[in-house]
Amino acid sequence: MKKTYKIEVDCANCANKMEIAAKKVDGVKDATVNFMTLKMKVEFEDGADTESVMDNVFKACRKIEPDCEIYYK
């Protein structure tokens, strides 16, 4: 399943880092962060609980970029 979320981030490099961080989260098959449109596209593993996976994605992103925001709720 794929979902797109709106995000808030200031710098392009941070967006890249968010992408790398999101990809490493369990339950995420693939993730792309588009700095230009400020969107994060997440492809979930089959049967993953999107809400809890996104909680972890958000935590992982906050770790590398304390200022970022993902609107997933």
Partner: protein, 626 residues
């Protein structure tokens, strides 16, 4: 400007003013330190906080962390050696100016591009109890009747059930050729209703309508990353660690060599200062921001011109186009049969066409359609006793005269012998009361833009243009010589087109790409095996949008050289930015290592280069001169 941008701008101004004032205040020792600390805190507090957070989260290469180390380090050296504080504050200030500029420029181009793509309708009108009510287009069900007033956008695809108007398709195609619509016509969302009120029965939901599809496509285009973008993100992920470790080495190794091997003073401060200079240049920001920005701007600008590019990777590949393969019918030619020649005998052109059209007026045969189209809006005499003779033509009684319209055989049956010489197209003969009136030649016509497009492509240095067609050799060769294409393959079955394309793919130069241009209807397999598949005339055709990598909204072949030019310009800017940014940084790193560049130059390498690269990237948006 957002609130954050405003706040930061105020901070930048306050700090700048403060710094200028400080230049005129003679202070020394601790007073001077405290005075300089004030602007430093004002401009850098958020960076410092983030740096602390970075340490807590084990993010050693966080740019805030690196900037903090560099500036705090510089201040520490200044405290110990009673040196200059100005530099550290200035570095922080310039860094913030750069960040502010980046955020402003990106925000601005985001807005510009979305304005270019301003085709999203905000509402749809629905009639309730005799009054028009504005509702969210998402809520409209298939089969609803919506009303579109003059000046409004068509929100959802549908069929006109009432009213006539003129539509402006410029937002979709980039060309403002007005299109007339009447009752029964299918219309697509995104066009602007220019003159009359229209009532439309919707045939799709909003999310499946053309306008939603296009927006979705353009917004997702930058997710398909190009090789340059992937290269840059890889570069960025190794660049920072390498620079940081080099800085560390620079701070430690030369002083140790000084002490141990050369038995000279270590000059620690000198080398630590050089290492801090390294840290200032360690952020790959200029590259990381300007490359995707270039692609985004290029794709946005192209979509405004009616060229939809489904990913940065396709834009990149298009710029290397070397072989362009065209489907014939519907791509280079109109795919519609039209009268190309009228040769009257024993009568005038007008009489000839009038009789032919009158006889054919009730027929639905494609040939009859093209004749009728030629005399649209002309009053035709009434035809009686109409007889269609399958495979031969039509006979009718018009104003008391016996008219035969059809092929050679029909003429013979009606007692007229005709000679046919080699002609391209279908020949229709006309006889009236057993007397030969002449012939009408009907053939598929070449699009107006085709010749110009091929000419342009040649001028751009595209070596090979190929035409593939299922038509017979005679017609194919004729069209090819008319338009000046370099090679032709005719009488191909759909599967032959695939094999031909495969052969061409193998024979082309490795660094070149093969582009296939088709109308997207039955050439989906070829579109997918080509390096880039371009489909044209996509207004409303889902299949075409689905199957191809680049979609031309209208069916003008002139858009192809335009698309290639756009891609070349965009790639040129991308490459400029890559080489310029990496080049300047490398030079500054070397100069910094040997002690020729101070932090001022380093901060220019970081911020100045980014500003220039971003400004350069924005040039991708302006495609007016292309």
């Amino acid at each position: 400007m957002t609130k954050k941008q405003k706040n930061n701008l105020i901070r930048i101004i306050i700090t700048s003013v403060f710094m200028i004032l400080l230049l005129f205040i003679p202070a020394a020792g601790i007073v001077r330190f405290v005075l300089y600390l004030i602007p430093y805190i004002i401009i850098g507090y958020d960076i410092l906080i983030k740096a602390v957070k970075g340490i807590i989260n084990f993010q050693p290469f966080d740019e805030c962390f690196l900037m903090s180390i560099a500036t705090v380090g510089a201040i520490t050296i200044a405290v110990i050696t009673d040196g200059d504080y100005l530099e550290a504050v200035a570095v922080m200030l310039f860094y913030q100016i750069g960040e502010w500029f980046q955020s402003y420029a990106v925000g601005k181009s985001r807005k510009n591009i979305s304005e270019l793509m301003d085709i999203r309708p905000d509402y749809a009108n629905i009639e309730e109890n005799g009054e028009l009510v504005r509702v969210d287009p998402d809520d409209i069900e298939v089969g609803s009747i919506i009303t579109v007033l003059p000046g409004e956008k068509i929100p959802i695809d549908g069929i006109v059930v009432e009213g006539t108007s003129v539509l402006d398709t410029a937002a979709l195609t980039g060309e403002s050729i007005p299109r007339n619509v009447n009752k029964g016509d299918e219309i697509i969302s995104g066009c602007i209703n220019k003159s009359g009120m229209l009532k439309i029965e919707t045939t799709k939901e909003f999310e499946d309508s053309t306008v939603s599809k296009i927006l979705d496509l353009v917004e997702n285009a930058s997710s398909k990353k190009s090789r340059s973008e992937n290269y840059i993100s890889k570069f960025a992920s190794v660049y920072t660690p390498i620079v940081v470790f080099s800085a560390l080495a620079l701070a430690v190794i030369p002083p140790l060599i000084n002490i141990i091997i050369l038995s000279e003073p270590a000059s620690w401060f000198n080398w630590i200062y050089r290492a801090l200079t390294f840290l200032v240049i360690s952020c790959p920001c200029a590259l990381v921001i300007s490359i995707p920005l270039s692609f985004f701007a290029g794709i946005g600008g192209a979509s405004h011109e009616g060229v939809l590019i489904k990913g940065s990777n396709y834009l990149e590949r298009l710029s290397k186009a070397g072989v362009i393969v065209f489907d014939k019918t519907g791509t280079l030619t109109k795919g519609v049969f039209e009268i190309t020649e009228i040769i009257p005998q024993n009568t005038s052109e007008y009489e000839l066409i009038k009789y032919a059209a009158a006889a054919e007026q009730y027929s639905n045969h494609p040939i009859a359609q093209s004749i009728k189209k030629y005399v649209e809006n002309t009053d035709l005499p009434i035809a009686e006793n109409i007889q269609e003779v399958a495979g031969l033509g039509i006979m009718a009684n018009i104003s008391g005269r016996q008219v035969c319209v059809g092929n050679k055989k029909l003429m013979k049956n009606s007692g007229v012998e005709v000679q046919e010489n080699e002609t391209i197209g279908t020949i229709i003969h006309v006889s009236v009361d057993g007397k030969y009136y002449g012939k009408i030649i009907i053939s598929d016509t070449i699009k107006e833009g085709t010749r110009i497009a091929l000419n342009e492509l040649k001028k751009m240095g595209i070596k090979q243009t190929v035409m593939l067609t299922g038509d017979n050799k005679k017609i194919a060769d004729h069209v090819a010589s008319e338009i000046g294409i370099s090679s032709v393959y005719s009488e191909l079955l759909p599967s032959d087109k695939v094999t031909k394309t495969e052969v061409l793919l193998q024979s082309k130069q490795k660094e070149e790409t093969l582009v296939f241009v088709g109308d997207g209807v039955n050439d989906a397999p070829v579109l997918s095996i080509a390096d880039i598949g371009i489909s044209m005339g996509a207004m409303g055709s889902d299949a075409a949008i689905e199957a191809s990598d680049i979609v031309l909204m209208d069916d003008d072949p002139g858009k192809i050289p335009k698309a290639i030019k756009i891609s070349k310009k965009c790639m040129r800017i991308v490459n400029q930015n890559i080489w310029f940014s990496i080049g300047v940084k490398m030079v500054c790193l070397i100069l910094g290592a040997v002690g020729l560049a101070n932090m001022w130059i380093a901060v220019f390498a970081d911020v100045g280069v980014m500003v220039i690269a971003v400004l350069n990237a924005i040039r991708c948006l302006s495609l007016k001169k292309i």
